[in-house]
Protein backbone atom coordinates (compact mmCIF):
# COMPACT_ATOMS: atom_id res chain seq x y z
CA UNK A 1 0.00 0.00 0.00
CA UNK A 2 1.18 3.49 -0.82
CA UNK A 3 -0.22 6.49 1.02
CA UNK A 4 0.15 10.07 -0.10
CA UNK A 5 -0.46 12.73 2.51
CA UNK A 6 -0.80 16.37 1.50
CA UNK A 7 1.84 16.27 -1.25
CA UNK A 8 2.86 19.73 -2.40
CA UNK A 9 5.44 20.67 -4.98
CA UNK A 10 6.32 23.98 -6.62
CA UNK A 11 8.78 24.95 -9.32
CA UNK A 12 9.60 28.60 -8.82
CA UNK A 13 6.29 30.43 -8.45
CA UNK A 14 4.28 27.67 -10.06
CA UNK A 15 2.65 25.25 -7.65
CA UNK A 16 2.33 21.99 -9.57
CA UNK A 17 0.96 19.75 -6.80
CA UNK A 18 -1.47 21.31 -4.36
CA UNK A 19 -1.88 18.97 -1.43
CA UNK A 20 -2.56 15.54 -2.90
CA UNK A 21 -3.71 12.84 -0.53
CA UNK A 22 -4.83 9.33 -1.38
CA UNK A 23 -4.16 5.63 -0.84
CA UNK A 24 -3.11 3.11 -3.48
CA UNK A 25 -4.19 -0.33 -2.32
CA UNK A 26 -2.09 -3.49 -2.51
CA UNK A 27 -3.04 -5.95 -5.24
CA UNK A 28 -4.91 -3.31 -7.21
CA UNK A 29 -4.22 -1.47 -10.41
CA UNK A 30 -4.54 2.20 -9.48
CA UNK A 31 -4.78 4.69 -12.33
CA UNK A 32 -3.85 8.36 -12.26
CA UNK A 33 -5.46 10.06 -15.22
CA UNK A 34 -5.56 13.65 -16.38
CA UNK A 35 -4.65 16.01 -19.16
CA UNK A 36 -1.05 16.78 -20.05
CA UNK A 37 0.61 19.32 -17.77
CA UNK A 38 -1.73 18.75 -14.82
CA UNK A 39 0.92 17.19 -12.57
CA UNK A 40 0.79 13.43 -13.25
CA UNK A 41 4.45 13.06 -14.13
CA UNK A 42 5.65 15.30 -11.30
CA UNK A 43 3.55 13.32 -8.83
CA UNK A 44 5.04 10.07 -10.11
CA UNK A 45 8.56 11.46 -9.92
CA UNK A 46 7.88 12.54 -6.33
CA UNK A 47 6.57 9.09 -5.48
CA UNK A 48 9.67 7.32 -6.76
CA UNK A 49 12.04 9.90 -5.30
CA UNK A 50 13.30 11.51 -8.50
CA UNK A 51 11.87 14.84 -7.33
CA UNK A 52 11.72 15.89 -3.68
CA UNK A 53 8.37 17.08 -2.34
CA UNK A 54 8.11 20.50 -0.68
CA UNK A 55 5.60 19.24 1.85
CA UNK A 56 3.75 16.06 2.71
CA UNK A 57 4.56 12.40 3.15
CA UNK A 58 4.81 9.39 0.87
CA UNK A 59 4.41 6.21 2.87
CA UNK A 60 5.27 2.79 1.46
CA UNK A 61 3.45 0.41 3.79
CA UNK A 62 4.76 1.70 7.12
CA UNK A 63 7.89 3.44 5.82
CA UNK A 64 7.86 7.20 5.36
CA UNK A 65 9.85 7.54 2.13
CA UNK A 66 10.06 11.33 2.36
CA UNK A 67 11.79 11.18 5.76
CA UNK A 68 14.46 8.68 4.68
CA UNK A 69 18.06 9.38 3.63
CA UNK A 70 19.58 7.99 0.44
CA UNK A 71 20.71 4.70 1.98
CA UNK A 72 17.42 3.99 3.73
CA UNK A 73 15.55 4.79 0.55
CA UNK A 74 17.54 2.14 -1.24
CA UNK A 75 15.74 -0.66 0.62
CA UNK A 76 12.38 0.78 -0.49
CA UNK A 77 13.66 1.34 -4.01
CA UNK A 78 14.64 -2.29 -4.45
CA UNK A 79 10.95 -2.99 -3.93
CA UNK A 80 9.94 -0.55 -6.66
CA UNK A 81 9.70 -1.48 -10.32
CA UNK A 82 8.97 1.04 -13.02
CA UNK A 83 8.05 0.83 -16.66
CA UNK A 84 8.86 4.09 -18.42
CA UNK A 85 6.96 5.56 -21.33
CA UNK A 86 9.85 4.77 -23.69
CA UNK A 87 10.80 1.62 -21.71
CA UNK A 88 14.23 3.17 -20.83
CA UNK A 89 16.10 -0.03 -21.62
CA UNK A 90 19.89 0.18 -21.41
CA UNK A 91 20.97 0.39 -25.05
CA UNK A 92 24.32 -1.29 -24.52
CA UNK A 93 22.77 -4.38 -22.92
CA UNK A 94 20.82 -7.28 -24.38
CA UNK A 95 17.30 -8.15 -23.23
CA UNK A 96 18.78 -10.72 -20.85
CA UNK A 97 21.36 -8.28 -19.44
CA UNK A 98 18.69 -5.63 -18.95
CA UNK A 99 16.55 -8.05 -16.96
CA UNK A 100 19.48 -9.36 -14.95
CA UNK A 101 20.86 -5.91 -14.17
CA UNK A 102 18.87 -5.39 -10.91
CA UNK A 103 19.77 -8.94 -9.87
CA UNK A 104 23.47 -8.29 -10.46
CA UNK A 105 23.31 -5.05 -8.49
CA UNK A 106 21.16 -6.09 -5.56
CA UNK A 107 21.26 -9.86 -5.09
CA UNK A 108 23.83 -12.56 -4.56
CA UNK A 109 22.29 -14.79 -7.21
CA UNK A 110 24.70 -17.07 -9.02
CA UNK A 111 24.81 -16.96 -12.82
CA UNK A 112 22.62 -20.08 -12.93
CA UNK A 113 20.03 -18.56 -10.60
CA UNK A 114 19.95 -15.36 -12.62
CA UNK A 115 19.49 -17.29 -15.86
CA UNK A 116 16.68 -19.36 -14.33
CA UNK A 117 14.87 -16.28 -13.06
CA UNK A 118 15.34 -14.56 -16.42
CA UNK A 119 13.78 -17.48 -18.26
CA UNK A 120 10.82 -17.43 -15.86
CA UNK A 121 10.22 -13.73 -16.38
CA UNK A 122 10.68 -13.89 -20.15
CA UNK A 123 8.04 -16.60 -20.25
CA UNK A 124 5.68 -14.47 -18.15
CA UNK A 125 5.99 -11.53 -20.53
CA UNK A 126 5.99 -13.70 -23.67
CA UNK A 127 9.53 -13.02 -24.82
CA UNK A 128 11.04 -16.50 -24.75
CA UNK A 129 14.07 -16.82 -26.99
CA UNK A 130 14.67 -13.07 -27.25
CA UNK A 131 17.43 -13.10 -24.61
CA UNK A 132 20.27 -12.02 -26.87
CA UNK A 133 18.51 -9.23 -28.76
CA UNK A 134 19.48 -5.61 -28.18
CA UNK A 135 16.83 -2.91 -27.56
CA UNK A 136 17.42 -1.51 -31.05
CA UNK A 137 16.27 -4.85 -32.47
CA UNK A 138 12.96 -4.87 -30.57
CA UNK A 139 9.52 -3.56 -31.57
CA UNK A 140 7.72 -1.01 -29.36
CA UNK A 141 5.62 -3.70 -27.69
CA UNK A 142 8.64 -5.93 -27.09
CA UNK A 143 10.51 -3.02 -25.52
CA UNK A 144 7.61 -2.42 -23.13
CA UNK A 145 7.48 -6.09 -22.24
CA UNK A 146 11.23 -6.12 -21.63
CA UNK A 147 10.81 -3.00 -19.48
CA UNK A 148 8.11 -4.80 -17.49
CA UNK A 149 10.32 -7.87 -17.19
CA UNK A 150 13.15 -5.75 -15.79
CA UNK A 151 10.71 -3.99 -13.44
CA UNK A 152 9.54 -7.26 -11.88
CA UNK A 153 12.95 -8.95 -11.79
CA UNK A 154 13.32 -8.52 -8.03
CA UNK A 155 9.69 -9.36 -7.16
CA UNK A 156 8.82 -5.75 -6.32
CA UNK A 157 5.99 -4.75 -4.02
CA UNK A 158 5.24 -1.59 -5.98
CA UNK A 159 5.00 -1.17 -9.75
CA UNK A 160 4.81 2.19 -11.51
CA UNK A 161 3.79 2.24 -15.13
CA UNK A 162 4.07 5.46 -17.11
CA UNK A 163 1.91 5.66 -20.24
CA UNK A 164 2.07 1.94 -20.99
CA UNK A 165 0.30 2.24 -24.33
CA UNK A 166 1.90 5.27 -25.90
CA UNK A 167 3.05 4.53 -29.41
CA UNK A 168 1.51 1.06 -29.51
CA UNK A 169 -1.16 -0.37 -31.81
CA UNK A 170 -4.51 -1.29 -30.18
CA UNK A 171 -3.84 -5.01 -30.02
CA UNK A 172 -0.41 -4.59 -28.47
CA UNK A 173 -1.87 -2.01 -26.08
CA UNK A 174 -4.44 -4.49 -24.83
CA UNK A 175 -1.74 -7.13 -24.48
CA UNK A 176 0.38 -4.78 -22.35
CA UNK A 177 -2.69 -3.82 -20.25
CA UNK A 178 -3.47 -7.48 -19.61
CA UNK A 179 0.16 -8.13 -18.74
CA UNK A 180 0.10 -5.32 -16.16
CA UNK A 181 -3.09 -6.77 -14.70
CA UNK A 182 -1.71 -10.32 -14.69
CA UNK A 183 1.59 -9.33 -13.06
CA UNK A 184 -0.20 -7.23 -10.43
CA UNK A 185 -2.33 -10.22 -9.46
CA UNK A 186 0.54 -12.69 -9.66
CA UNK A 187 2.98 -10.67 -7.52
CA UNK A 188 0.28 -8.98 -5.38
CA UNK A 189 1.83 -5.60 -6.14
CA UNK A 190 0.57 -2.10 -5.58
CA UNK A 191 0.45 -0.91 -9.16
CA UNK A 192 0.16 2.75 -10.13
CA UNK A 193 -0.48 3.48 -13.80
CA UNK A 194 -0.23 6.97 -15.29
CA UNK A 195 -2.23 7.14 -18.46
CA UNK A 196 -4.30 9.15 -20.90
CA UNK A 197 -5.70 6.04 -22.48
CA UNK A 198 -9.34 5.48 -21.54
CA UNK A 199 -9.30 2.03 -23.13
CA UNK A 200 -6.69 0.98 -20.55
CA UNK A 201 -8.71 2.52 -17.76
CA UNK A 202 -11.85 0.65 -18.76
CA UNK A 203 -9.87 -2.54 -19.34
CA UNK A 204 -7.87 -2.96 -16.13
CA UNK A 205 -8.35 -0.13 -13.60
CA UNK A 206 -9.44 -0.98 -10.06
CA UNK A 207 -9.28 2.57 -8.76
CA UNK A 208 -9.01 5.80 -10.71
CA UNK A 209 -7.74 9.18 -9.56
CA UNK A 210 -8.40 12.13 -11.83
CA UNK A 211 -5.90 14.96 -11.46
CA UNK A 212 -6.60 18.51 -12.52
CA UNK A 213 -4.38 21.52 -11.83
CA UNK A 214 -2.32 19.63 -9.29
CA UNK A 215 -5.22 18.20 -7.28
CA UNK A 216 -7.16 14.95 -7.30
CA UNK A 217 -10.63 16.21 -8.11
CA UNK A 218 -12.30 12.82 -8.55
CA UNK A 219 -11.67 9.29 -7.30
CA UNK A 220 -13.63 6.18 -8.20
CA UNK A 221 -13.64 2.94 -10.15
CA UNK A 222 -14.12 2.10 -13.82
CA UNK A 223 -17.89 1.72 -13.49
CA UNK A 224 -18.42 4.96 -11.65
CA UNK A 225 -16.26 6.89 -14.09
CA UNK A 226 -18.84 6.32 -16.80
CA UNK A 227 -21.61 7.60 -14.57
CA UNK A 228 -19.74 10.55 -13.15
CA UNK A 229 -21.25 13.98 -13.50
CA UNK A 230 -18.00 15.78 -12.69
CA UNK A 231 -17.67 18.33 -15.53
CA UNK A 232 -13.88 18.25 -15.82
CA UNK A 233 -13.79 14.45 -15.74
CA UNK A 234 -16.58 14.24 -18.30
CA UNK A 235 -14.71 16.58 -20.62
CA UNK A 236 -11.62 14.38 -20.30
CA UNK A 237 -13.19 10.93 -20.46
CA UNK A 238 -15.76 11.65 -23.11
CA UNK A 239 -13.62 13.84 -25.29
CA UNK A 240 -14.00 11.45 -28.23
CA UNK A 241 -17.21 10.63 -30.12
CA UNK A 242 -16.51 6.95 -29.50
CA UNK A 243 -16.51 7.38 -25.73
CA UNK A 244 -19.65 9.53 -25.86
CA UNK A 245 -21.40 6.69 -27.70
CA UNK A 246 -20.24 4.22 -25.06
CA UNK A 247 -21.63 6.49 -22.36
CA UNK A 248 -24.98 6.70 -24.15
CA UNK A 249 -25.15 2.92 -24.41
CA UNK A 250 -24.17 2.56 -20.77
CA UNK A 251 -27.05 4.79 -19.76
Amino acid sequence: MIQLKDIQKSFGDTQVLKGISCTFETGKVNFIIGKSGEGKSVLTKCMVGLVEVDQGSIIYDDHDFTAMDRWDRKTVRTNIGMLFQGAALFDSMTVEENIQFPMVMFTKFTKGERDKRTEEILEQVGLQGKNKLFPSELSGGMKKRTGLARAIALNPKYLFVDEPNSGLDPLTSIMIDKLVRQLTDQYNMTTVVISHDMNSVIEIADTIHFISKGEFVWNGDRKSILKSQHPLLNDFVFASQFMREIKDKFK
Partner: protein
Amino acid sequence: MPIFSSIGRYSILMGRVFSRPEKFRVYPPLVIREMDKIGLQSVGIVSLLVLFMGAVVAIQTASNIESGWIPRWTIGYTTRQSIILEFSSTVVCLIISGKVGSNIASEIGTMRISDQIDALDIMGINSASYLILPKIIAAVFIIPFLVLLAMFVGVAGGASIAILSGNVSFADFEYGAQYDFRIWDVAYSVIKTFFFAFIMTSVSSYHGYNTQGGALEVGQGSTRAVVYSIVIILVADFLLTQLLLL
Protein backbone atom coordinates in the same frame (compact mmCIF):
# COMPACT_ATOMS: atom_id res chain seq x y z
CA MET B 1 26.21 34.15 -11.70
CA PRO B 2 25.77 31.10 -13.96
CA ILE B 3 29.46 30.17 -13.70
CA PHE B 4 29.24 29.76 -9.90
CA SER B 5 26.04 27.79 -10.28
CA SER B 6 27.79 25.49 -12.77
CA ILE B 7 30.81 25.07 -10.48
CA GLY B 8 28.47 24.26 -7.61
CA ARG B 9 26.53 21.68 -9.62
CA TYR B 10 29.76 20.18 -10.95
CA SER B 11 31.08 19.86 -7.38
CA ILE B 12 27.87 18.21 -6.18
CA LEU B 13 27.99 15.79 -9.11
CA MET B 14 31.62 14.91 -8.34
CA GLY B 15 30.61 14.37 -4.71
CA ARG B 16 28.07 11.81 -5.93
CA VAL B 17 30.56 10.25 -8.34
CA PHE B 18 33.08 9.62 -5.56
CA SER B 19 30.58 8.49 -2.93
CA ARG B 20 30.44 4.84 -1.91
CA PRO B 21 29.29 2.71 -4.86
CA GLU B 22 26.54 0.11 -4.53
CA LYS B 23 28.63 -2.88 -5.50
CA PHE B 24 32.37 -2.66 -6.06
CA ARG B 25 32.65 -5.84 -8.11
CA VAL B 26 30.58 -4.49 -11.00
CA TYR B 27 33.10 -1.69 -11.57
CA PRO B 28 36.23 -3.50 -12.87
CA PRO B 29 34.53 -4.77 -16.07
CA LEU B 30 33.13 -1.28 -16.66
CA VAL B 31 36.57 0.30 -16.18
CA ILE B 32 38.15 -2.19 -18.60
CA ARG B 33 35.45 -1.46 -21.20
CA GLU B 34 36.05 2.27 -20.82
CA MET B 35 39.82 1.80 -21.08
CA ASP B 36 39.25 0.14 -24.41
CA LYS B 37 36.91 2.91 -25.61
CA ILE B 38 38.94 5.84 -24.31
CA GLY B 39 42.47 4.51 -24.67
CA LEU B 40 42.92 1.64 -27.09
CA GLN B 41 40.50 3.04 -29.64
CA SER B 42 42.47 6.30 -29.62
CA VAL B 43 45.88 4.74 -30.29
CA GLY B 44 45.58 5.06 -34.06
CA ILE B 45 44.52 8.70 -34.21
CA VAL B 46 46.99 9.76 -31.52
CA SER B 47 49.90 7.98 -33.24
CA LEU B 48 49.05 9.43 -36.62
CA LEU B 49 48.70 13.00 -35.37
CA VAL B 50 51.75 13.00 -33.16
CA LEU B 51 53.87 11.40 -35.90
CA PHE B 52 53.13 14.38 -38.14
CA MET B 53 53.55 16.85 -35.27
CA GLY B 54 57.03 15.48 -34.63
CA ALA B 55 57.82 15.73 -38.33
CA VAL B 56 56.57 19.32 -38.56
CA VAL B 57 58.52 20.40 -35.47
CA ALA B 58 61.69 18.85 -36.92
CA ILE B 59 61.21 20.55 -40.31
CA GLN B 60 60.41 23.93 -38.74
CA THR B 61 63.40 23.72 -36.44
CA ALA B 62 65.66 22.75 -39.36
CA SER B 63 64.33 25.60 -41.50
CA ASN B 64 64.99 28.11 -38.70
CA ILE B 65 68.56 27.06 -38.10
CA GLU B 66 70.45 29.18 -40.57
CA SER B 67 73.39 30.13 -38.42
CA GLY B 68 76.49 27.98 -38.54
CA TRP B 69 76.94 28.68 -34.85
CA ILE B 70 73.93 26.54 -33.99
CA PRO B 71 74.71 22.83 -34.28
CA ARG B 72 72.43 20.57 -36.37
CA TRP B 73 71.79 18.28 -33.42
CA THR B 74 69.60 21.10 -32.05
CA ILE B 75 66.89 19.70 -34.34
CA GLY B 76 66.81 16.48 -32.33
CA TYR B 77 66.94 18.37 -29.04
CA THR B 78 64.14 20.79 -29.95
CA THR B 79 61.95 18.04 -31.36
CA ARG B 80 62.36 15.95 -28.22
CA GLN B 81 61.70 18.83 -25.85
CA SER B 82 58.64 20.09 -27.77
CA ILE B 83 57.12 16.64 -28.03
CA ILE B 84 57.82 15.60 -24.45
CA LEU B 85 56.96 18.85 -22.70
CA GLU B 86 53.88 19.96 -24.59
CA PHE B 87 52.76 18.08 -27.67
CA SER B 88 52.55 14.61 -26.14
CA SER B 89 50.55 15.72 -23.14
CA THR B 90 48.60 18.91 -23.81
CA VAL B 91 48.00 18.62 -27.54
CA VAL B 92 47.27 14.90 -27.37
CA CYS B 93 44.81 15.51 -24.51
CA LEU B 94 43.13 18.26 -26.51
CA ILE B 95 42.74 15.83 -29.40
CA ILE B 96 41.38 13.10 -27.13
CA SER B 97 39.02 15.66 -25.57
CA GLY B 98 37.47 16.22 -28.96
CA LYS B 99 37.04 12.52 -29.62
CA VAL B 100 36.32 11.12 -26.18
CA GLY B 101 34.64 14.19 -24.65
CA SER B 102 31.93 14.39 -27.28
CA ASN B 103 31.45 10.64 -27.10
CA ILE B 104 31.02 10.68 -23.31
CA ALA B 105 28.68 13.70 -23.33
CA SER B 106 26.47 12.30 -26.08
CA GLU B 107 26.35 8.82 -24.52
CA ILE B 108 25.34 10.08 -21.08
CA GLY B 109 23.11 12.80 -22.56
CA THR B 110 21.20 10.23 -24.60
CA MET B 111 20.79 8.09 -21.49
CA ARG B 112 19.42 11.14 -19.69
CA ILE B 113 16.81 12.07 -22.29
CA SER B 114 15.69 8.47 -22.77
CA ASP B 115 15.08 8.05 -18.99
CA GLN B 116 17.84 5.45 -18.60
CA ILE B 117 19.46 7.52 -15.84
CA ASP B 118 16.10 7.88 -14.07
CA ALA B 119 15.72 4.10 -14.34
CA LEU B 120 19.06 3.64 -12.56
CA ASP B 121 18.10 6.13 -9.84
CA ILE B 122 14.73 4.49 -9.26
CA MET B 123 16.42 1.12 -8.84
CA GLY B 124 18.45 2.71 -6.04
CA ILE B 125 21.70 2.85 -7.99
CA ASN B 126 23.92 5.91 -7.73
CA SER B 127 23.73 6.71 -11.44
CA ALA B 128 26.47 9.35 -11.28
CA SER B 129 28.94 6.93 -9.77
CA TYR B 130 27.90 4.00 -11.95
CA LEU B 131 28.16 5.94 -15.21
CA ILE B 132 30.96 8.43 -14.58
CA LEU B 133 33.42 6.87 -12.14
CA PRO B 134 34.54 4.05 -14.51
CA LYS B 135 35.22 6.64 -17.23
CA ILE B 136 37.33 8.81 -14.91
CA ILE B 137 39.31 5.87 -13.53
CA ALA B 138 39.86 4.44 -17.03
CA ALA B 139 40.98 7.78 -18.48
CA VAL B 140 43.31 8.64 -15.60
CA PHE B 141 44.89 5.20 -15.90
CA ILE B 142 45.12 4.74 -19.67
CA ILE B 143 45.77 8.23 -21.06
CA PRO B 144 49.25 8.54 -19.49
CA PHE B 145 50.21 5.42 -21.48
CA LEU B 146 48.89 7.06 -24.62
CA VAL B 147 51.04 10.08 -23.80
CA LEU B 148 54.14 7.91 -23.35
CA LEU B 149 53.39 6.29 -26.70
CA ALA B 150 52.93 9.75 -28.21
CA MET B 151 56.37 10.81 -26.92
CA PHE B 152 58.02 7.88 -28.63
CA VAL B 153 56.08 8.17 -31.89
CA GLY B 154 56.49 11.95 -32.04
CA VAL B 155 60.25 11.88 -31.62
CA ALA B 156 60.48 8.96 -34.07
CA GLY B 157 58.39 10.93 -36.58
CA GLY B 158 60.65 13.93 -36.20
CA ALA B 159 63.75 11.79 -36.58
CA SER B 160 62.43 10.03 -39.69
CA ILE B 161 61.51 13.18 -41.56
CA ALA B 162 64.62 15.13 -40.50
CA ILE B 163 66.93 12.32 -41.57
CA LEU B 164 65.02 11.43 -44.77
CA SER B 165 64.96 15.07 -45.89
CA GLY B 166 68.71 15.31 -45.37
CA ASN B 167 68.50 18.10 -42.80
CA VAL B 168 70.38 16.17 -40.18
CA SER B 169 72.28 12.93 -39.87
CA PHE B 170 70.99 10.10 -37.68
CA ALA B 171 73.97 10.51 -35.37
CA ASP B 172 73.32 14.25 -34.91
CA PHE B 173 69.62 13.75 -34.31
CA GLU B 174 70.33 10.95 -31.85
CA TYR B 175 72.86 13.12 -30.03
CA GLY B 176 70.38 16.00 -29.81
CA ALA B 177 67.55 13.75 -28.73
CA GLN B 178 69.68 12.45 -25.84
CA TYR B 179 71.31 15.77 -24.97
CA ASP B 180 70.55 17.00 -21.43
CA PHE B 181 67.71 14.51 -21.10
CA ARG B 182 65.92 14.82 -17.77
CA ILE B 183 63.46 12.19 -16.66
CA TRP B 184 61.60 14.96 -14.79
CA ASP B 185 60.41 16.34 -18.14
CA VAL B 186 58.66 13.06 -18.84
CA ALA B 187 57.29 12.95 -15.31
CA TYR B 188 56.05 16.55 -15.64
CA SER B 189 54.20 15.64 -18.80
CA VAL B 190 52.67 12.52 -17.29
CA ILE B 191 51.63 14.39 -14.12
CA LYS B 192 49.84 16.96 -16.28
CA THR B 193 48.09 14.14 -18.09
CA PHE B 194 46.48 12.84 -14.89
CA PHE B 195 44.83 16.22 -14.42
CA PHE B 196 43.86 16.56 -18.07
CA ALA B 197 42.33 13.07 -18.13
CA PHE B 198 40.25 13.90 -15.06
CA ILE B 199 39.15 17.23 -16.54
CA MET B 200 38.12 15.86 -19.93
CA THR B 201 36.08 12.95 -18.54
CA SER B 202 34.48 14.76 -15.61
CA VAL B 203 33.58 17.93 -17.54
CA SER B 204 32.18 15.94 -20.47
CA SER B 205 30.22 13.70 -18.09
CA TYR B 206 28.84 16.77 -16.31
CA HIS B 207 27.52 18.20 -19.57
CA GLY B 208 26.03 14.88 -20.59
CA TYR B 209 24.49 14.21 -17.18
CA ASN B 210 22.77 17.60 -17.10
CA THR B 211 21.31 17.39 -20.60
CA GLN B 212 17.65 18.32 -20.76
CA GLY B 213 15.38 18.16 -23.78
CA GLY B 214 15.93 16.07 -26.89
CA ALA B 215 18.39 15.17 -29.62
CA LEU B 216 19.20 18.82 -30.32
CA GLU B 217 20.24 19.40 -26.71
CA VAL B 218 22.36 16.24 -26.73
CA GLY B 219 24.31 17.71 -29.66
CA GLN B 220 24.63 21.07 -27.95
CA GLY B 221 25.74 19.42 -24.72
CA SER B 222 28.33 17.46 -26.64
CA THR B 223 29.73 20.62 -28.22
CA ARG B 224 29.79 22.41 -24.87
CA ALA B 225 31.57 19.44 -23.31
CA VAL B 226 34.40 19.64 -25.83
CA VAL B 227 34.73 23.44 -25.71
CA TYR B 228 34.74 23.61 -21.89
CA SER B 229 37.12 20.66 -21.61
CA ILE B 230 39.59 22.29 -23.99
CA VAL B 231 39.44 25.67 -22.27
CA ILE B 232 39.83 24.16 -18.79
CA ILE B 233 42.70 21.92 -19.96
CA LEU B 234 44.54 24.96 -21.33
CA VAL B 235 44.03 26.91 -18.09
CA ALA B 236 45.16 23.87 -16.09
CA ASP B 237 48.19 23.52 -18.38
CA PHE B 238 49.22 27.07 -17.57
CA LEU B 239 48.76 26.61 -13.83
CA LEU B 240 50.51 23.22 -13.73
CA THR B 241 53.41 24.52 -15.76
CA GLN B 242 53.82 27.41 -13.32
CA LEU B 243 53.62 24.98 -10.45
CA LEU B 244 55.86 22.20 -11.76
CA LEU B 245 58.48 23.89 -13.91
CA LEU B 246 59.17 27.20 -12.16
